[in-house]
Amino acid sequence: MASKVIHALYVDDDILMDAVKKVRAEHYHIEEVYTPFPVHGLDKAMGLPHTRLAITSFMYGCVGLTVAILMMNYIMIEDWPQDIGGKPSFSYIENMPAFVPIMFELTVFFAAHLMVITFYMRSKLWPFKKAENPDVRTTDDHFLMEVDAGSHDVDQLASFLGDTGAVEIKVIDKEEDNH
């Protein structure tokens, strides 16, 4: 079964923000907004839930810290203790200051890399993926709002979107399995 969506194009981020607020106030459902750059506050205006990426980042940092501690303990204390600069490596805690840079770096390394990978997975992005942009102009200077027509009157919805400042309105028949 095919569903109808409306693509409304805007040329200014302020107009887009106002339009998003108006559309939501009328209880239409916004499927997605495509923008050439991040628009500050758009996520809140669209009513998207707050990102949990920061929490995952904290957990990855803790993993990195743990890996660093276990790794340095195995390498420098258990497996091959050495006497460096008059500081024999027989105790982790006594040699800890020397390991702090590694602990710091691995915390950052794990937090940063795993957070980026999580972001890609969550956004369904991977190499050679075909772009989901419905219109190439959204990579340059246009903003596209995709509104679910649902059971609404398409003509009425289109004229309402025109009043919000859209410069171009297209009605699209979308295949259900596209989602």
Binding site: A54, K87, A98, V100
Partner: protein, 433 residues
């Protein structure tokens, strides 16, 4: 316009009087002779048995009275050192705010102008605080007390290392430099506040704002050189054999985070009293981000200084940390918890930075932590192992806290709390994150 409530006025005056009386008692309690030290230590040893044995073995090693004379000098220094720590600590808060204020102008920050009057009021403490600090510095530099060993001609005569540094570390050089540093900072403070007030009356062409921008940029260049030299003179020279090349940065991080924390605390206090209605929780959020960030920066510098010295283990360098870890274990590691681990955990979450009581709690811990930081920098070289937080330490803090509150809140009444002429004031009012 803010009006100073009688309760706050009375509170600050009581703090000052109590502090002054306590400090006089502290000076009066100094032992006058070796005999008195022996009595004091005997009384102390009677309380703890284990400590007594250690004291006697030290006595033998030092050859009788030499040890007691050493302790006598440390105890005679103690009220002076606690006065110095408190005078410097409250002065450095105001100095940190002054640097922060200049950065806001030089970077043309749009979020912060609503907080300018709070910052200007805090920097008002630079005048009385600077004068008192200058007197204390002059007394120490001319060897009225025994805080600086390099100021003692007898010590210098037998010390080749200090002799080599006496081109820089001498009484007159010390006091002239102090006058230049303080004079420059007070001069900038005077004109910055004057231009800020003029800009309110005459916004035509932002003439006064442009002047503020220029002197702020000039001041920051002057400040970063003089602040670094100030840290060598006023703090590092307590241990004249020891040196650290990033000491200026380290002291800067400490005064910067203390200053920003104080801006946040005073803004939240004024908001709770119904003033500063134009300050929203995004401004508090930004200040808390600075508190968090500069705390991490402070730790980074602390660790950079510590790790290199610890690892290389060169005797004349590492003695600095050995005395601190052996004699000052609790304040030394306690300050790391208060200045790093606590702000890291409390202020990491974005939402917590908007909760006023969270910011206040973290701020009080940070300020106490940085007091202990200054304490750790000054006490080991002046009172050594004879340290304890006693009447003179608490009284000195009380005296300067009272003076600080009195001066800062009185300065707040001098001008409207909103600098309405600032060109960024509308942006700042609508600042939203």
């Amino acid at each position: 316009m803010y009006t100073l409530s009688n309760r706050l006025k009375l509170f600050s005056i009581i703090l000052m009087v109590v502090g002054l009386v306590g400090l006089i008692v502290g000076f009066g309690q100094r032992p006058g002779s070796i005999q008195e030290v022996k009595e004091m230590m005997a009384a102390h040893d009677a309380h703890g048995g284990g400590h007594g044995n250690q004291g006697h073995s030290e006595e033998d090693a030092h050859g009788g009275d030499a040890h007691y004379e050493h302790v006598l000098h440390q105890l005679q220094n103690k009220p002076w050192a606690s006065l110095y720590v408190a005078a410097f600590f409250f002065f450095m808060i105001a100095l940190g705010v002054l640097a922060f204020y200049a950065i806001q102008f030089a970077s043309q920050a749009g979020w912060s102008p609503v907080l300018f009057r709070v910052m200007e009021a805090i920097t008002a403490y630079l005048v009385p605080g600077g004068i008192i600090l200058f007197i204390v510095l002059a007394l120490s530099g001319f060897h009225v007390n025994h805080l600086f060993v390099w100021a003692d001609p007898e010590v210098v005569a037998h010390d080749a290392l200090i002799q080599g540094k006496s081109g820089w570390l001498n009484s007159w050089g010390f006091i002239i430099r102090a006058a230049i540093f303080l004079g420059g900072w007070l001069l900038y403070r005077h004109f910055a506040v004057k231009y800020s007030r003029k800009q309110d009356e005459d916004t035509e062409g932002n003439k006064w704002y442009k002047k503020s921008f220029k002197i702020s940029a000039g001041f920051l260049v002057f400040f970063i050189y003089t602040e670094s030299m100030m840290s060598w003179d006023w703090i590092m020279s307590f241990d004249p054999h020891w040196f650290s090349t990033l000491f200026g940065w380290y002291v800067f991080a400490s005064l910067f985070v203390s200053g920003i924390t104080t801006i946040a605390l005073i803004s939240i206090y004024l908001k709770s009293k119904g003033y500063l209605e134009f300050v929203n929780n995004s401004h508090i959020h930004d200040l808390a981000k600075f508190m968090f960030g500069i705390s991490i920066f402070w730790t980074y510098l602390w660790f950079s200084q510590f790790m290199l010295i610890w690892y290389s283990n060169i005797p004349e360098e590492v003695t600095y940390f050995i005395t601190r870890i052996e004699d000052y274990k609790l304040p030394f590691f306690g300050m790391l918890v208060m200045n790093f681990i606590f702000p890291l955990l409390v202020l990491m979450n974005s939402d917590f930075k908007r909760v006023n009581w969270f910011v206040v709690m973290a701020g009080i811990v940070i300020l106490c932590g940085h007091y202990i930081d200054v304490y750790n920098m000054i006490m080991p070289a002046t009172v050594g192992e004879s340290w304890f937080i006693g009447i003179s330490e608490i009284s000195a803090v009380s005296l300067f806290l009272g003076l600080f509150l009195f001066v800062v809140f009185r300065a707040l009444t001098k001008a409207p709390l909103l600098p309405k002429g600032n060109p960024y004031i509308e942006e700042s009012k609508h600042f939203h994150y």
